[in-house]
Amino acid sequence: MQRLGPSLWTWDSSWQQAPATSLPLGVQKILLGSAFTSKIKVVLNQGPKKEILVLLPLGVSSLLNLWVQLQGCLFLGTFPAFILLFYLVFYGFLTAMFTLTMWVMLQTVSDHTPKYQDRLATPGLMIRPKTENLDVIVNVSDTESWDQHVQKLNKFLEPYNDSIQAQKNDVCRPGRYYEQPDNGVLNYPKRACQFNRTQLGDCSGIGDPTHYGYSTGQPCVFIKMNRVINFYAGANQSMNVTCVGKRDEDAENLGSFVMFPANGNIDLMYFPYYGKKFHVNYTQPLVAVKFLNVTPNVEVNVECRINAANIATDDERDKFAGRVAFKLRINKT
């Protein structure tokens, strides 16, 4: 009250009984008063016409006075300190608001399954070893050139070791989906089917002195299909991966190759995938392709695609929908 000074606060004689205050602030004017009549009047004048007339019960008056005082201190205060305080409060509030809305939003999202899978109708295919430009270049004589691939593959295939698989995963019946519905109760965690490293045959790299064939110029490339939650790949029919040279000359240069498991088959039992949280030990099925006699010193464009009833492989825009294209080059001196 004191700091506002008498020029702002004056007693209005007509409100003798009811302590009233009038704030002649420029054009605008506020009249506050708490009457013994259990009502207080707030008259907000703007220009010639009265804009608001509020009648409040008596109890509010003291609160309102406090608020007015606080406001007065806040809004008539000195300049820099209040600016700082203001921005502190304001940004604090904004952060809180943002956090709140984000929290509310995250409540709409389940931990286990994504709300929408609009973009994932067709799973993509990908190769291992993973390289910068999807090119597998092997200089047979230069160990350095393929050693990194080998290291990557060793690491990649480690979870497929038969011992680990036997320990963590089930032996499933091939040829049918391994469904584990929740049936009202959360069935968690879900079991996964075994995919043993030995199934990859010559490409398993177990006791392999040729390092997946990289040291002999007969490299193994592993094809994997992207995981998509609740996707029933193959629509209950068997599916397999096939590889071809992209153009005629590529086909010529590609030579022969063998696939593991045989025929490039991917079994239905590895589907559906239930997601990282549910399907903790899920092992992604692989198809290994061992290129036996690629024409050396030529870049060969290879394209592998999955033949499955419900996976389209002809998407014009998504070059990796149900297929993968990579370059293979074996350099021999």
């Binding site: 420029g26 300049f79 608001m97 899978q117 993509g124 390289t131 995938y273 825009r317 990796f320």
Partner: protein
């Protein structure tokens, strides 16, 4: 010929100076022109019309100096030679203009980089380059279109104020548009007219011509002629004659005039930039500066964060595109032309857009009295002769006063003869009071008065042939003419004079009472003064009339009068009587003056009238308010000498030209600051100029209204000159920035209101446009720093700037004024900038930031619901953007190909775009007011806002659902619920702004008000 003679002519009077100047001018124009054109010009010099006699001229041009051309002849010539108008200079071809568009350089740099980048990367960059190029071309086309349109508006404006010429055709005086003049027409020129074509003078009276447009010399050259037959100086089109009258024959029209030839040689002259354009450009430069500096800062950050340089350059372009309000220039152009149109509808014709804005910041209006504050419809109210005041009410029975007196006979003769006004022919059936008259207001009043009382005035004038005349001008303050008498036996010439009573009285030595001449003694002079003061005190314009019969011996019938040398007596005349006319104030003026007061605008009356008249009118219109007194009033009331009155007590002051003459500039400054209500009376044109300068010394923005030629210097000097459309002379209209089509002072107030409104609304538009810049900029900064997948693409930003935001920001121009617009002080030119710190801070750091957060919520929602939770997005950028990574794992263990991610990224763009768009709706609504609550302003009063909102939503819907399949545009179909994610933030923006406005209203002057009111 006229070229040559014109030059010689100027040479004659300006002692060769003009000739040199003209030559210089010509040389300049010709410098770059080919030689044969010079030859052509020289050829024309051979023709020498001025050497021909009038008879030869008549023969040559097939005309007659008394009857003029016949209408058919004129039509024929018009068809053959074309209208008397200058062919407009050729426009610069539009193609040349395109690269001039703002941002062009930026685009071509971008395009170059894109092209360079293209070799190794996807087509996206090429699309961006194309879109940027398209933007530049589109803005170029738009700017050109707008320019062409506003040129058209200006052209139509100049058509709306057509130059008129008084021409004799079929033996009748006719007013025709100057464009229809043909060679051989006989034209009459009076003071203030622009010479409509090259003319060869036939007769002239005290006529001067200002050839400044030709010579660049501003001093009017005085042209004197002993004999009308020797008047051989052709005058040039575009010259103005400030004083005097003349008759001449048109010898050249249109492009064949001297000015026309120079104009055709001169190519387009560059337009000057209006202050508002400068303000906006300044602002755009600041924004661009900020954009470039943030861009470069982040470029450095990006490079030091080991981003590829090429990528960093793309970031730089993204940041710049996000920051530059591409659509703003177009918006502002449209807004300004909308206001210009709106003002034209309210009878304020704006000659240059500058005036719209200047009028809004006007702090002093120096208003002319006649025509502006009053109706300029003089009616004779009182007569004084034979020491008696008579009431003359021409609307009723006119035999109220005694018409038998000999004095009345003389007076009526003077009133009839000493008058240049004429009825326009062809109005025989029109009642006298409604007939259109060619002449000024008081002459019209006198003509109508005499026509009513005496009958056919033209017939009387014909019987008393005029032999010489000195027209009225503000220096002499009298008008004089010499006539033959209609009494065949009386061979004397009658000299009649009318003018300012004191001037007329000075020239008199006798006074006529009851038809008898009596010497003018002190008592009659006293009676004169009493009557004069009484009539003047009523706010009436008083004219004195006197005459003199020139003695036949000294002035025989053949005597040749020369008005320039004045070879006849102009003193010792016989005073006949006074006549007073009232020009009633316009009914709308008092209200308008009050409005100006409350708008903080000081209204000063500057008039050539008598102080008493001026004061009376000032009081009746409220320029001197009812309760304020002048020093003289106080002295009179207290019965003390004027010197003893404390100057502080007086609010009003009436200052005459005489007093002003003795004032030092300091004294004038003091006068202007000390008194709030000032009337300047009996001022000369020079003094008007001094007053305007005095006001400008007070740092005021001065508007001057005027209609006469004498006003034009002040109109030019003023920050904004306002000419009267109906009564105004061409000179005044030319000098002015704005023309009031209805001559009504109240229109100025509407003009001020519009001017303030446009300024306010531009502020709102800019605030609206700036806000989203932060929401567009933040994604880039977050993208660079936190490595999120890019939340919004450059092309998408352009779709906001040039798509969804355009119509809403134009819609703000239709916003009605907040209630206090005319209750606040005028804007200070330098202190109250269009874009001030609070505006930028509030837009950027408050609403802009809120918007960015809201848009990010939508973005995160889309990603989270599709599988990428916010935590997974951080630092995902590198993997996310790699083309070779086609099995990127999301938060649920699913794997994404590159295209699937790209598509999700576009969905993110669309989501972010929709988030901004939804919040821009809230932003648009809050920008409707700066101080008042939206509910005070009315949510639905401005319908265009809703059109804007609808357009925003429709464009967004089309982009998302219609063009969602066009991959180059980076839009995808968005799930319907994502359109509502940002709504809570939009509501927050609204609530926050309401709170801001509430505290501004509650605590004016507080730090909140100072920092939050933009």
């Amino acid at each position: 010929a006229r070229r040559g003679t014109g030059t010689e002519d100027v040479g004659k009077t300006d002692t060769g100076d003009g000739k040199e100047k003209y030559r210089g001018l010509k040389d300049k124009r010709l410098e770059l022109k080919k030689n044969h054109q010079k030859e052509e010009l020289k050829k024309e010099v051979d023709l020498e019309d001025h050497k021909l006699s009038i008879k030869e001229l008549e023969r040559k041009y097939g005309t007659n100096i008394v009857t003029g051309l016949s209408s058919t002849q004129a039509a024929e010539l018009l068809a053959r030679n074309g209208p008397n108008a200058l062919t407009p200079p050729k426009e610069t071809p539009e193609i040349v203009k395109f690269p001039q568009a703002d941002g062009a350089i930026l685009c071509w740099i971008a395009y170059g980089i894109q092209y360079f980048n293209d070799k190794s990367s996807s087509l996206d960059s090429v699309y961006l380059g194309c879109v940027l190029a398209l933007v530049v071309i589109l803005t170029g086309i738009f700017a050109y279109y707008q320019e062409a349109k506003s040129t058209n508006i200006m052209a139509s404006f100049s058509k709306m104020i057509p130059q008129q010429a008084l021409v004799i055709r079929d033996s009748e005086k006719k007013t025709v548009p100057a464009e229809q003049l043909v060679v051989g027409d006989i034209v009459e020129i009076k003071g203030g007219d622009k010479i409509p074509a090259d003319i060869r003078l036939l007769s002239t009276q005290g006529c001067k011509v200002d050839n400044s447009s030709l010579t660049g010399n501003l001093t009017p050259s005085l042209r004197t002629h002993d004999n009308p037959l020797e008047a051989e100086n052709p005058w040039n089109k575009m010259s103005t004659s400030p004083v005097g009258t003349a008759t001449g024959m048109v010898i050249n029209t249109g492009d064949r005039t001297i000015i026309g030839q120079i104009a055709s040689l001169a190519s387009g002259v560059g337009h000057e930039k209006t202050p508002i354009a400068i303000e906006i450009e300044h602002f755009v430069h600041i924004v661009a500066g900020v954009a470039v500096s943030i861009g470069i800062l982040f470029f450095i950050i990006a490079v030091s964060m080991k981003y590829y340089v090429l990528d960093s350059i793309i970031f730089l372009i993204g940041i710049i595109v996000a920051n530059v309000p591409e659509g703003l220039l177009a918006t502002v152009t449209v807004t300004l032309s909308l206001t210009a149109k709106r003002m034209a509808k309210k009878n304020c014709l704006v000659k240059n857009l500058e005036a719209v804005e200047t009028l809004g910041s006007t702090s002093i209006i120096c208003s002319d009295k006649t025509g502006t504050l009053t109706q300029n419809r003089m009616t004779v109210a009182h007569l004084w002769f034979d020491n008696q005041i008579f009431v003359a009410d021409t609307s009723e029975d006119h035999s109220i006063f005694d018409q038998s007196s000999g004095t009345w006979a003389s007076l009526s003769k003077i009133i009839t003869l000493c008058n240049r006004a004429e009825f326009r022919p062809g109005q025989e059936s029109v009642p006298i009071m409604k007939k259109v008259v060619v002449g000024d207001a008081s002459e019209t009043a006198l003509l109508k008065f005499s026509e009513v009382i005496l009958g056919d005035v033209m017939e009387i004038r014909k019987r008393n042939r005029k032999v010489a005349e000195i027209p009225f001008n503000s220096t002499n303050k009298f008008q004089l003419s010499i006539h033959e008498t209609d009494d065949p036996s009386d061979k004397r010439f009658l000299m009649v004079m009318k003018g300012a009573p004191e001037r007329v009285l000075e020239k008199c030595s006798t006074i006529m009472v009851n038809g008898q001449e009596q010497p003018l003694d002190d008592s009659t002079a006293e009676a004169f003064h009493t009557a004069y003061m009484e009539l003047g005190g009523l706010g009436e314009r008083v004219l004195g009339f006197c005459h003199l019969y020139l003695p036949a011996d000294k002035f025989p019938e053949t005597y040749s009068f020369d008005v320039d040398t004045v070879n006849f007596p102009t003193s010792n005349l016989c005073f006949v009587g006074l006549l007073s006319m009232i020009d009633p104030p316009r009914s709308t003026v008092p209200d308008a003056v009050t409005k100006c007061r409350s708008a903080g605008i000081k209204v000063i009356m500057v008039t050539g009238d008598h102080p008493i008249t001026a004061k009376a009118i000032a009081k009746s219109v409220g320029i001197i308010s009812a309760n304020s007194e002048t020093v003289e009033d106080i002295a009179k009331r207290l019965n003390i000498p004027v010197e003893q009155v404390s100057k502080r007590d007086a609010k009003a002051a009436v200052v005459t030209g005489m007093e002003l003459k003795d004032m030092s500039p300091e004294q004038l400054d003091e006068l202007l600051t000390d008194y709030s209500e000032i009337v300047f009376a009996r001022t000369s044109p020079q003094q008007k100029l001094i007053i305007v300068e005095g006001c400008q010394r007070q740092d005021a923005v001065v508007a001057v209204t005027g209609d006469g030629v004498n006003d034009s210097p002040a109109l030019k000097k003023a920050d904004i000159g306002i000419a009267m459309g109906i009564a105004g002379s061409d000179a005044a209209k030319n000098a002015a920035d704005m023309v009031l089509l209805d001559d009504n002072f109240a229109s100025i107030v509407t003009g001020v209101e519009e001017g303030r409104l446009i300024f306010d609304n531009l502020k709102k538009t800019i605030a609206y446009t700036l806000t989203k810049n932060i929401a567009e900029l933040c994604p880039f900064l977050i993208y660079i720093i936190a490595g999120l997948p890019l939340p919004i693409g450059t092309i998408t930003i352009l779709f906001i700037d040039l798509g969804t935001d355009i119509i809403p920001s134009i819609a703000l121009a239709y916003e009605k004024a907040e209630s206090d617009i005319m209750n606040r002080k005028p804007r200070h030119k330098k202190k109250d900038r269009l874009v001030n710190a609070p505006l930028a801070i509030y837009s950027y750091l408050h609403i802009g930031l809120m918007q960015a957060l809201g848009a990010f919520v939508v973005y995160f929602t889309v990603y989270a619901q599709e599988g990428f939770r916010p935590s997974a997005l951080i630092n995902l950028r590198v993997e996310w953007e790699k083309d070779s990574v086609n099995d990127l794992e999301d938060s649920y263990g699913q794997e994404w190909t590159q295209y699937q991610r790209k598509y999700l990224e576009w969905t993110g763009y669309t989501a972010f775009f929709v988030g901004i768009m939804i919040q821009q709706i809230a932003d648009l609504i809050i920008r409707k007011t700066r101080r008042n609550s939206i509910f005070q302003q009315g949510l639905f009063r401005n319908k265009v806002i809703w059109v804007g909102i609808a357009s925003q939503i429709i464009i967004a819907l089309i982009l998302s659902y219609g063009l969602g399949s066009v991959s180059a545009l980076n839009f995808t179909m968005l799930r319907p619920q994502y359109w509502f994610v940002a709504v809570p933030h939009a509501i927050l923006i609204w609530v926050y702004d309401e709170v801001r406005k509430l505290f501004i209203r509650l605590y004016p002057g507080s730090w909140w008000d100072k920092n939050m009111y933009y």
